[in-house]
């Protein structure tokens, strides 16, 4: 005989995914999809918010010593068959605007979305604001043996979950 215990957890329906292979992406002047940011998420009826978290690395390009980008979370509208913003508040800006800042970092961006019922496609897009910035590239890492690797690529990952207040 088996039993599935009743759970009253505030965090549930956790979905995670990670890129298996990936290349560097360069930000452009119009919004473009970030690799491995797309997910089809099924939301239940008793949800307060849905949390979307995307983690990867960003680094300056060889042509600029600075870079600022903007991100937005979009959802697929099956009625209009088009992608639209999840809401105006789900925009994030990241980067350094100084010409000598040489930005490089590993970042996790978190978005909070109003719930829905059923299945919905989500993805993250980004756009260049100033300078230049590359995604999934660290510029360099140092191995445990002390050798430097300038071709290291970070595999981005996504964690999406529901919360009940």
């Amino acid at each position: 005989m088996s039993y599935i215990p009743y759970e009253d957890s505030s965090i549930f329906n956790v979905q995670a995914q990670k890129a298996s292979s990936i290349s560097t992406q360069s930000a452009s002047n119009s919004f473009a999809d970030l690799t491995s940011s797309d997910i089809t998420y099924n939301c239940d009826s008793n949800v307060s918010k849905v949390i979307y978290e995307y983690t990867t690395s960003f680094s300056r390009s060889t042509s600029y010593a600075y870079g600022v980008v903007e991100f937005k979370l979009v959802q697929y509208n099956t009625s209009t068959s088009s992608w639209e913003d999840t809401s105006a508040s789900n925009y994030i800006s990241y980067g350094f605007g100084s010409n000598t800042s040489y930005p490089r970092n590993n970042k996790t961006f978190t978005f909070t979305i109003d719930p829905w019922v059923g299945s919905k496609q989500l993805k993250l897009q980004w756009k260049l604001i100033s300078g230049a910035l590359n995604a999934h590239h660290t510029e360099a890492i140092v191995n445990l043996n002390g050798t430097i690797d300038t071709s290291y690529i970070t595999k981005p990952f996504l964690i999406v979950y529901s919360i009940k207040e």
């Binding site: 005989m1 088996s2 039993y3 599935i4 215990p5 759970e7 957890s9 965090i11 549930f12 329906n13 956790v14 979905q15 995670a16 990670k18 978290e53 983690t55 690395s57 680094s59 010593a65 350094f96 100084s98 000598t100 800042s101 040489y102 930005p103 490089r104 970092n105 590993n106 996790t108 660290t138 510029e139 360099a140 890492i141 140092v142 191995n143 445990l144 002390g146 430097i148 690797d149 290291y152 970070t154 595999k155 990952f157 964690i159 979950y161």
Partner: protein
Amino acid sequence: MSYIVKTKSNMITDVKTSHVSSITEQVPTTTYSTVTGSEITYTPDSNAIWVVYDIQFTIHSRVSQHVGVYGALVYEDSGSDVEFEYIFTGDGYNDGGYLLRYKFLIPAYSGARVWKFQTRYYHGASWAQDLHEDEDGNKYFPVATMYSIT
């Protein structure tokens, strides 16, 4: 009579944190060393698909010039450290302090593993940083957390 208890899938389980009771300044060198408070011995949930490692700590530029944090998430295997993933945080001509947070998504494994986050600098002392304090010497505790996603 015996019962088989099944947990629901797509849950966060087995949350574990590393918390130190006191903290002092940590001074990384040009070889990797373990960040104080980053070590966690973790056994995934038997139903885990993923394991998350999440660490947060404070740094400041050592000589008020640049920041260049080379980091590695490692685990112990037969007495040696094995790299899982690397990160790099760099900021030129910005001698401020930082609250750094790194998150890693690890495929589930069997048994217990000792996880550690290690750092070093590389490009000379002007790109070095000190940990767990700000430029005024105020101390801040690191926090490391691990959990399973079933």
